[in-house]
Symmetry: C2
Subunit: 380 residues, 2 copies
């Protein structure tokens, strides 16, 4: 393993807050992007338990959970990796580990936390207990699409060189490099079983998949006549790939720059249909049972949600939660969905079967919502 | 809703034990079948935290978890429904709700616990908080194959009449009855997305599936030339249907009375292959990523496990954990498997990638192992 390459700013805070005896399986965190804080919520009770502040720049933040559902590792845009204890409701560790970072992942055994960095480019891997650096993998490129894969592996991709690297930490660090993923990959996802890794391309049409079950994965072209096209298109219109839905036998992909979602057979990776939508889709997320896909849209149509039946591929419901719908999170068994409505300063809770609004929760510019059940899933 | 039909023996115990504030996301319970007790374990630490006693006859016990992963509802063979608080490590409620029962389920919103009864036949549904009876559904038949389905529904089947009932509790109780499931269904399962319900038949060959996404589900025959056959076969050789593996695009079914497992396409429900095994399979369980299926066997070959690659359908590993391998439970992200070896008085923990034994945990006649991550899954 490589030694620490750059000086790190490490702050370890000892918590002095105690809380009632409780279990955390139905808790969640809501990112308050403007304030650098997170709200701890109880999903079953639909209540806010605490606000935890001091997490730095959360303008494009995401987080993962420890396998005991006690700790959240929050990845800030400013390179900050903050460890939050949701039992004591406090920050218990913080490392400013790079200048500009974008996302992270946790290994399947819960022991390693990896962060993807733009500046300097590369991936840094930390001990989940102590936040001490375990491995530093510089890449000479912005690093995108970092995910965890089974077997203590992390997979990530280079914006500049179009290479995907698989870092295996089951023993001594081993890196497998795969070339020719395409021109300027900008984001990637891994399927819930950890088998298929798919990168979206900014510099050319199409996407590129890898079958991680192959001894030596080879790039597989997907939708080669679809994507960015020849027009210059602002990056902010590219859909988040983590917003793809997987409904059992199909993926649902928010189309880039068009008012539609695309359906792809998950075995053959061939297109199986398109559904016209109200606006440019941002997230297309499947209810956990895969029966319906919920879609939100880019500005100026970002006040609306459409719900699509995955059998008929038709829109069956449309409603307006409010201004700037940024994110949706389903309960693990799909009975409720929580929706961030940034400019309303609220998170709305809906019954996913009746579409009835169940509750509203005040939050300061809410963006990402993350329930602790994510601790038990791959690639989130 | 029907009123209470039979007198119940209700015992509510108030806990006086306090415990440290903790998170329970990596906890689990191991059934000690001979002693009427359960062991509370910490999966990450591979340690026993407590033994909780007084749960009655656990000779064919199973359990489900509340959505906050704090409470376990344990279904005993003697009709006992016991609510265990794994934070305070004590029994907080117990109802002897029938004379002979077999399994249960919890609704997707976590509010209702249902129990399947042989004597008297039927299903009883309880408030998950108080264990008060909410609905009593007598059936005039032993009731088998009780599972939860999305939308506050429970699905179960009649041994005598071959009917499957869908009880919808999203509003006032509504029951949909489906006839002609086959001759003497003896067990059933539901797929992880809650879409397909499959019942095994004792009285004739084949199995019967229902697509619960259909308005009015119709029985679909599966493997009509396979199953019990014309020979009389003791019931104890019938594999548990909850032991089916679903590997993404295929089911793996332990063959009845043969030394093989069967592969079935999950879309077409047609057979796609067979793999010869060491003995009569009991459980065929997929590692959560679906790459490998682990199989244990009936007496006298119940000291052995075989691991099958789901791509090649070939056995790639075989080993002998010890006498009377009864159950396997994978960690939620698949890096470890815990295996009950009843007559060794131990639960063995293995790395699922290297097959290395990581630990042994002493337990009294261990059978079922249940990690709290099950709280977030449908149909377990």
């Amino acid at each position: 393993m490589k030694a620490l390459a750059l000086p790190l700013i490490v702050t370890l805070l000892v918590s002095s807050v105690s809380a009632e005896t409780t279990a955390t399986g139905d808790f969640g965190l809501i990112v308050e992007r403007a304030k650098g804080s997170v709200l701890l919520i109880d999903q079953s009770e639909r209540t806010v338990l605490a606000r935890i502040e001091g997490l730095g720049d959360l303008s494009h933040a995401s987080l993962v959970y420890s396998s005991d559902e006690r700790f959240a590792y929050v990845f800030g845009r400013d390179g900050g990796l903050t460890k939050v204890d949701i039992v004591t409701r406090s920050i218990v560790g913080r490392v400013v580990q790079a200048g500009n970072s974008i996302g992270g992942a946790i290994s399947d055994d819960g022991k390693l936390v990896a962060v993807s960095n733009y500046e300097p480019g590369g991936v840094r891997i930390f001990d989940a207990d102590t936040l001490q650096l375990v491995a530093d993998i510089p890449t000479d490129s912005k690093t995108i699409g970092l995910v965890d894969a089974p077997g203590r592996r992390f997979v990530f991709t280079m914006w500049s060189t179009g290479e995907t690297w698989i870092a295996d930490l089951s023993g001594e660090l081993e890196i497998t490099k795969i070339s020719n993923m395409g021109d300027r990959p900008y984001d990637a996802l891994i399927t819930a079983n950890g088998r298929t890794y798919i990168a979206g391309l900014f510099g050319e049409d199409g996407l590129t998949a890898l079958d991680l079950w192959d001894e030596v994965p080879e790039p597989i072209r997907v939708l080669p006549n679809y994507g960015r096209g020849q027009e210059e298109m602002p990056v902010y219109k590219m859909p988040h790939l983590e917003g793809w839905a997987h409904t059992g036998s199909e993926f649902v992909l928010p189309a880039v720059g068009h008012h539609e979602v695309l359906w792809i057979d998950s075995n053959t990776l061939q297109e199986t249909g398109r559904t016209q939508t109200y606006g440019q889709p941002v997230f297309a997320m499947a209810r956990p049972d895969g029966r319906y896909v919920w879609v939100n849209f880019a500005h100026p149509k970002n006040d609306t949600i459409q719900v699509i039946d995955t059998v008929t591929k038709e829109v069956v419901h449309e409603f307006k939660p409010g201004p700037a719908v940024l994110h949706m999170e389903f309960t693990s068994r799909g009975n409720e969905v929580w929706i961030s409505v940034r400019d309303a300063g609220k998170v709305m809770v809906y019954d996913t079967h009746s579409f009835k609004k169940l509750s509203e929760i005040s939050a300061n510019s809410p963006s990402g919502i993350f329930f602790t059940a994510r601790a038990h899933r791959t690639g989130l």
